[in-house]
Symmetry: C2
Subunit: 234 residues, 2 copies
């Protein structure tokens, strides 16, 4: 096994809370739409709209907000009031400025790891929002660079490592999404560690059709990462 020189960390729900804020807004959205007497599966329709819009709008809060507005229109059969649409936009703006709550152990672990590895934050989503959260997080002091990708697939990981000047066999990725942080990274010959988070966006958990059991290590908390890294150091 090669020695790891560089570690990439996913951001949302790996370094700081994110999905929980989306869930709160989704709850308010569901209540709003229900107040129109809608009996359809609101969460399901919203999610389908989000997925349909990914290729057109990309990831992130602004796309999510536009998807809520579209779903509201369709779910209420064109009856959503203009004031309620405006309310949805305000929720989107609040989401863009949610507090950056670091997950337990993040500062300790990054502070320890930075003297042993080059640390990268590798995330996707709205660049405006991700950059802002990164600045607010105070983690810049531990991190060599942040890369905000439009998609996290094997091609973008390969291109990012090339840009960073890191060989795939020297790279290890840490994240909460099997779809985005684990499988594409293993595919390019790097290593990956899965740290599940209790709230993870449904899209990130959809990766069926591939038998990936036992192909990657799973840790309960980022606090276990230093010991894990010592254990694989050849």
């Amino acid at each position: 096994m090669n020695t790891i020189s560089s570690i990439g960390f996913d951001a949302d729900d790996t370094l700081w809370e994110s999905e929980v804020f989306f869930s709160q807004v989704e709850k308010k959205f569901t209540q709003l739409i229900k107040s129109y007497g809608v009996e359809a599966e609101i969460g399901k329709e919203l999610y389908e709209t989000e997925k349909r819009n990914l290729s057109k709008l990309g990831y992130g809060v602004k796309s999510f907000t536009l998807s809520m507005i579209e779903s509201a229109h369709h779910l209420t059969q064109g009856n959503i009031g203009s004031g309620d649409t405006e309310k949805i936009i305000q929720w989107g703006k609040e989401l863009l400025h949610h507090p950056v709550n670091l997950l337990p152990g993040v500062v300790d672990v990054l502070s320890y790891l930075q003297s042993h590895f080059a640390i990268y934050v590798i995330t996707k989503g709205d660049a405006f929002h991700q950059q802002q959260k990164f600045l607010d997080s105070g983690l810049a002091t531990y991190v060599t660079d942040i890369e905000i990708l439009l998609e996290k697939d094997s091609n973008t990981y390969r291109a990012t490592l090339t840009k960073m000047g890191v060989a795939p066999e020297e790279f290890l990725m840490v994240g909460n999404s099997v779809r985005s942080d684990i499988l594409p990274v293993i595919e390019i010959g790097s290593q990956a560690v899965h740290i599940p988070h209790e709230t993870t966006w449904q899209y990130e958990t959809e990766h069926t059709g591939r038998n990936d059991e036992n192909n990657y290590p799973i840790l309960e908390s980022i606090r276990e990462l230093p010991d894990f890294l010592s254990s694989i150091d050849s």
Copy 2:
């Protein structure tokens, strides 16, 4: 005068058409709102909303779309129909996929310059959209890298040059916006060439309060750039 080693090109309305597509949508938006009997200055209200939202939403089509929806709500005093809001979102999606029409001379000039300089595209706005347009443009073959900034001010230019490993005195920026492409670049001790475009977003032309007359060269077309560069080469 130092010799220029690297040239940065703004993208929207410097390499390809952009504002003209926004103007077309704004025209449709104005007609839509007028159909509600609104007599207010629609373009002015939309622009004020866009400006107000910049710090909250950032630049780009998705922000513009959300600003249109908000303006529609306020201008119609809450009477905009849900179907019309949905129409505005569709315009936004169309804007995100407008054709990439290169400006005259761009391919010839970049193709010529690439053997003499490192060429960078330095733009701002929605990363998802800018990256897509860059890929569609076919210009990647001439360009060392594309940098999509959240803001184009002297701090972000300075940080970008550091990242690129280019000294300010070796750098020259080319763009259509005095506010974003010229003044902050001159401020950090680099050079800048202004190539005005007939349609430029109002925000980019607002840079009053500073006397910048004759502080930078103005070219009529990118075609004049090679001769200009020869003329300043010491």
